[in-house]
């Protein structure tokens, strides 16, 4: 057999004169093709770059040669190396007059350059010229380039010409002009906003290709603004109807489906237009139902259309019959052996359960199979489905599964995704707070660095607020369990920073609250955390503040504080830290433990993190003091705005509202006047020293600065201190606001602030808990899978629907739809009359509904169905992929041929010339060979075309290749293997 082929190749050689490519190029391709490793390939390409750099700038390179160089540049970039040295030559090639060279030039430029590249400007002129060309192929080439190279700035240069081309006589040009306009719309919607009506016009184009292309921009437009296009519903429906009735030219058929890609896009558009619109949806029911019935469910493409139908049905206003049809399709998908179909089934199930939640139940086992499938893609899709059908009755099972999966994967992107979903579900449906905390622990432990910080704040708030108002016992139980779980976890290595922050905060607030653990035990643990995270200042800060809280609670409770040795050394270390924040906290700690119980209780009240901190912005509590000082001769306070000339401008905060201050000052700066501030200074120091005696050595300056502007709001004063930001705020506030109800320490204020910023989700959680607490998944005593099924699906019929997204209100009646659609329809009809008779197929009148006669012959007996018994059905289903081989008249011949082959098992001489195959090539032994081999090969793809028809071609090619020196028997025979065989 091989020998025969080879002889054929040799014989066929004479007829053709090679690929028109130089030996050099063929050698390059050959060596790249045979490269065994990336390193080898890189070596070849680097060598090629050197060669090309030399050669490409030589003078007087023949055009053909230059084209080859350009392709070699494309190779270089494709294989990941920089070919920018040759870009200019590609640009030059676009100026060429020969179409092939011009198009190659454009191709290379679009592959090399982004639309903001400097060289583009050199092409704009060429494109403009080419758009005016008489040769429509040149115009097409230019329009291709327009779609890739024109950016927002150059759109105006092209727009008028592109718009003119929308009316070009060649359909290929109209199609590309529409897409160019689409591109402009993508790049800058405003630039073409006045031209949007052109898309509507082109929808009625005589040429189905132009119509099909127009659906792309229309889809985008409708996605953004549904309401302006409701009038087109009738048109889209009628087009879809005609496509489904095979009114388009046969060349659009694919595997016997009439224009499936156009059908799919139309279904997508209808799904948008019918969403939540009963009236629009009612127009669609018939045609979608028809497609459901007509679709060939044995081919991939048929299933693709069916899937799109399901998507459409689950988006438009529900119709019981269609929902039923969709459910049937889904169950067929799920029962299929093909993983692809299972995947589509899971996806469509996720869409349909919004409409009919009960459908999930009948597929529970199939879903669980998919969940346990080793295929990651299928698994993820199933998790997506589970996410959509989670409710309070099954949340525990689902979230547990998700977490297990999350732990098992490494892909950070997906880990983040699934972690945030776990958090979302847990927050929404948690059956108990205890479960919630344990779940969050797991999420934090394994994906803490990936989840949003807000989640951590939410968790802290939940622990602080507990169930809410009344149930104190439950709250403290919750906290105890949190503390317990954290003490258990804290020893684990490499916990994420966010999680450690939560742990420190909770241990600080509640570690000793229930008396189960001693202060020294908790503080020891906290010191360990701080030591373990020597690089993480935030965690250290949380830990130190937690230590301070523990000590403060101890002091307030009247117990004697014995600071652990390690704590002492930690605090000492931190008080010399480079971080002013850590320093600050360390000094705070040292100061607090020297205070008496009463003072401490005021500074850090126990369990007060939920109390609001009231801030007296007027500092009215200082009034009596100010009065007293003024009586003693102090100068009255001058508001900052009036003080501008008196103080050094350096002392002013940068962001004062007055614009004048930002302008240049032309007069010389005044000398600073020391007596004014200094007097206030000494006076203002007193109150702070009274309240916080420990503070004065470290922070006299800050207190002074604050005190200089006592009547300015708190925010204003904090701006004054400029560089010592964190330091001042923390000490300043307790110092002069001690009369406020809850002067908790700086850090707890921090957290309180953090928590109060969070949205209302937390309160929703606690509500959800109360209602859902009683419901537990009922677990049956049966095989594991059934158990899982029951816990996943069991409660579905009696529990509440989760999302309200399925609610369909009839938003708007499209009363004018009928009237408007008349206009385009009549336009088309009149166009129809003028169509020339030279066109082979009758031009499809896309908007004409009246004509029921279908011109094309639909084979009443599908020839390929009959083949199923003879060949593997998966292969047979697609034998028809040469679209032309569809007519029923040919089928007997083919069947006869196939009927013979398995019986004889020998090369037959049956030479049947297929009229549909352009060349009329004889069937040779190759046919039998091909069909037999496909029948046996385990690895063949589900769709196969009738191969072997072109045996001659392959022989010629092989021979040619041999002649060029590329021998198939060398290293990489794969290069020669036909893709479709």
């Amino acid at each position: 057999m091989e020998q025969l082929k080879t002889i054929g190749r040799e014989l066929a050689m004479g007829s053709q004169g090679g690929f028109g490519q130089s030996k050099e190029f063929l050698d390059l391709v050959k060596s790249i093709g045979e490269a065994r490793s990336k390193a080898e390939e890189d070596r070849i390409v680097l060598h090629e770059i050197e060669t090309l750099k030399r050669r490409i700038s030589e003078p007087d390179i023949p055009k053909r040669k230059m084209k080859e160089y350009i392709i070699r540049l494309v190779y270089i970039e494709m294989l990941g190396h920089d070919a920018s040295f040759g870009y200019i030559h590609a640009v030059k090639m676009t100026h060429d007059d020969t179409l092939l060279l011009k198009r190659t030039g454009y191709l290379a430029v679009t592959l090399f350059l982004n639309d903001d590249h400097d060289l583009i400007i050199l092409i704009v002129n060429t494109i403009q010229k080419d758009l005016r060309s008489d040769n429509y192929l040149v115009v097409c080439a230019a329009l291709n380039a327009v779609c890739r190279l024109i950016n927002e700035e150059t759109i105006p240069a092209m727009l008028p010409q592109v718009v003119d081309l929308l009316a070009h006589s060649k359909e290929a040009v109209r199609k590309k002009a529409i897409m160019a306009l689409h591109r402009f719309y993508q790049k800058s919607p405003s630039s073409v906003s006045h031209l949007v009506s052109n898309f509507r016009k082109r929808l009625c184009d005589n040429d189905p290709g132009v119509m099909g292309a127009t659906l792309c921009p229309l889809f985008d437009l409708i996605t953004i603004e549904v309401h302006s296009y409701k009038d087109l519903v009738v048109s889209f429906v009628s087009i879809l109807k005609q496509v489904a009735e095979r009114r388009l030219p046969k060349s659009y058929d694919y595997h016997q489906m009439p224009a499936p890609f156009i059908q799919i896009r139309l279904l997508k558009i209808l799904a948008l237009l019918g969403s939540g619109d009963k009236q629009a949806s009612e127009n669609m029911y018939t045609v979608v139902g028809d497609i459901f019935r007509k679709c060939d469910s044995s081919s991939n493409i048929g299933n693709a259309v069916l899937y799109e139908c399901v998507c459409c049905v689950s988006s438009i206003y529900p119709n019981p019959k269609l929902l039923e049809a969709a459910a049937d399709v889904i169950s067929r998908f799920l029962k299929s052996d093909s993983h692809n179909l299972k995947y589509m089934g899971i996806d469509s199930l996720g869409r349909l359960i919004k409409m009919s939640p009960e459908i999930a139940e009948q597929h529970q086992l199939a879903v669980i199979d998919c969940l346990e499938d080793p295929d990651d893609t299928l698994k993820r899709k199933t998790f997506e489905l589970l996410y959509k059908m989670t409710k309070s009755s099954n949340v525990e099972v689902i979230v547990d599964r998700m977490i297990d999966y999350m732990i098992s994967i490494n892909d950070n992107h997906y880990k983040t995704d699934i972690a945030s979903r776990c958090v979302e579900l847990a927050e929404q449906f948690a059956p108990s707070n205890h479960w919630f905390i344990l779940t969050m622990n797991k999420v934090f432990e394994h994906a803490g660095d990936l989840v949003n910080v807000k989640v951590a704040h939410n968790l802290m708030r939940l622990i602080a607020e507990g169930f809410g108002e009344d149930d104190d016992a439950a709250d403290s139980q919750l906290r105890s369990s949190a503390v317990e779980s954290y003490l258990h976890i804290i020893g684990e290595p490499k916990l994420p920073s966010v999680f450690l922050q939560v742990i420190c905060w909770v241990l600080g607030e509640y570690g000793t609250a229930d008396g189960k653990y001693s202060a020294s035990y908790i503080t020891g643990k906290l010191c360990d955390v701080a030591e373990a995270c020597s690089n993480d200042e935030t965690v250290k800060a949380y830990a130190v503040t937690a230590l301070m809280k523990i000590y403060a609670f101890e002091i307030a409770a009247g117990r004697k504080v014995d600071m652990l040795h390690e704590c002492q050394s930690l605090v000492e270390e931190l008080s010399a830290s480079h971080s002013t924040d850590l320093q600050q906290r360390a000094y705070e700690l040292q100061a607090v433990i020297c205070l008496d119980a009463h003072a401490v209780e005021n500074i850090i009240p126990s369990d007060a993190s939920c109390e609001d901190v009231e801030i007296d912005k007027n500092l009215s509590f200082l009034n009596s003091y100010v009065q007293q000082s003024m009586e003693n001769g102090a100068q009255p306070y001058i508001p900052e705005t009036q003080r501008s000339g008196m103080l050094d401008t350096n002392f002013r905060s940068q962001d004062q509202p007055e614009a004048s201050l930002h302008g240049l000052r032309f007069e010389a700066y005044e000398l600073p006047k020391p007596p004014v501030p200094s007097r206030i200074h000494t006076a203002s120091l007193e109150p702070s020293t009274e309240l916080v005696p420990a503070s004065e050595p470290a922070y006299p300056k800050d207190t002074h600065q604050v005190a200089t502007v006592p009547s300015v709001s708190d925010a204003g004063s904090s701006e004054l201190k400029l560089r010592l930001d964190g330091v001042q705020r923390k000490w300043g506030r307790p110092a002069y606001s001690s009369s406020a109800p809850s002067p908790s320490s700086s850090t707890s204020q921090n957290t309180v602030n953090g928590v109060t910023q969070i949205d209302a989700a937390g309160s929703v959680i606690s509500k959800a808990h109360k209602t859902n607490d009683s419901r537990k998944p009922r677990v049956e005593i049966s095989p594991e899978k059934q158990k899982l099924a029951a816990s996943l699906f069991g409660g579905s019929s009696q529990t509440e629907k989760r999302s309200t997204s399925a609610s369909h209100k009839v938003t708007k009646a499209v009363s004018h739809a009928a009237g408007k659609s008349q206009a385009p329809k009549s336009a088309v009809v009149s166009n129809q009359v003028t169509v020339e008779k030279t066109i082979h197929q009758p031009p499809p009148d896309l908007l004409d509904l009246g004509e029921p006669a279908v011109p094309s012959t639909t084979p009443s007996v599908d020839p390929f169905k009959q083949l199923e018994g003879l060949l593997d059905p998966t292969q047979v289903s697609s034998t028809a992929n040469h679209g032309a081989v569809g007519a029923a008249t040919e089928s007997p011949d083919i069947i006869a041929l196939y009927g013979k082959t398995p019986a004889s098992g020998h090369s037959s001489s049956a030479a049947i010339s297929l009229p549909t195959n352009g060349d009329g090539v004889n069937f040779t032994a190759g046919l039998l060979d091909a069909t037999l081999s496909t029948a046996h090969a385990g690895t063949t793809l589900p769709t196969q075309s009738i191969k072997g028809l072109n045996a001659k071609d392959s022989l010629e090619k092989d021979a040619l290749v041999r002649q060029m020196g590329v021998t198939p028997s060398s290293q990489n025979p794969n290069l020669f293997r036909d893709l479709l065989s």
């Binding site: 060349s251 259309v305 001659k952 290069l975």
Partner: protein
């Protein structure tokens, strides 16, 4: 957008054709191709032909030694893309006759021209083989 990129890669992971519908730098392309090729080539025949990658999906299909990989947005119909790949192969097959890896390598620009006819702005615009191939045939004659 729909289609973000189309790649042809052989089973050693070497790129045979690359067309991106959104601009990526050379480094980004290199990294992306490396990542997804590793992902897809590791899969078995029984597994789905779809792989999620970052925020999009890859639909792939193997023909002899060559993998066709198409990166699409999440709302794209995967099965349709799978058939689009087959349509592309059939179209190339009609043009080259028993198309093989070497045909694509020797006629890289023609494979690109076909793609240019079939996909614009990341959308499938033409599915009629004769419409796709006519301009290319005319150009050869010219």
């Amino acid at each position: 957008m729909g289609i973000r990129f189309i790649l042809m890669v052989n089973k050693q992971g070497q790129t045979r054709l690359a067309q991106y519908y959104e601009y990526l730098t050379l480094e980004e392309r290199r990294a992306l191709e490396g990542e997804i090729v590793r992902k897809c080539l590791a899969r078995t025949e029984q597994q789905c032909s779809f792989v999620e990658h970052r925020n999009y999906k890859i639909v792939y299909r193997r023909y002899a030694s060559l993998f066709f990989l198409v990166g699409v947005d999440n709302d794209e119909n995967e099965l349709a893309i799978l058939e689009f790949i087959h349509l592309l192969v059939e179209t190339m097959d009609r043009h080259f006759g028993n198309v093989c890896e070497l045909d694509i390598m020797f006629h890289l620009e023609k494979a690109h021209f076909m793609l240019e006819e079939m996909v614009m702005n990341g959308c499938i615009v033409e599915t009629s083989k004769s419409n796709i191939l006519t301009p290319i045939q005319l150009m050869e004659k010219a």
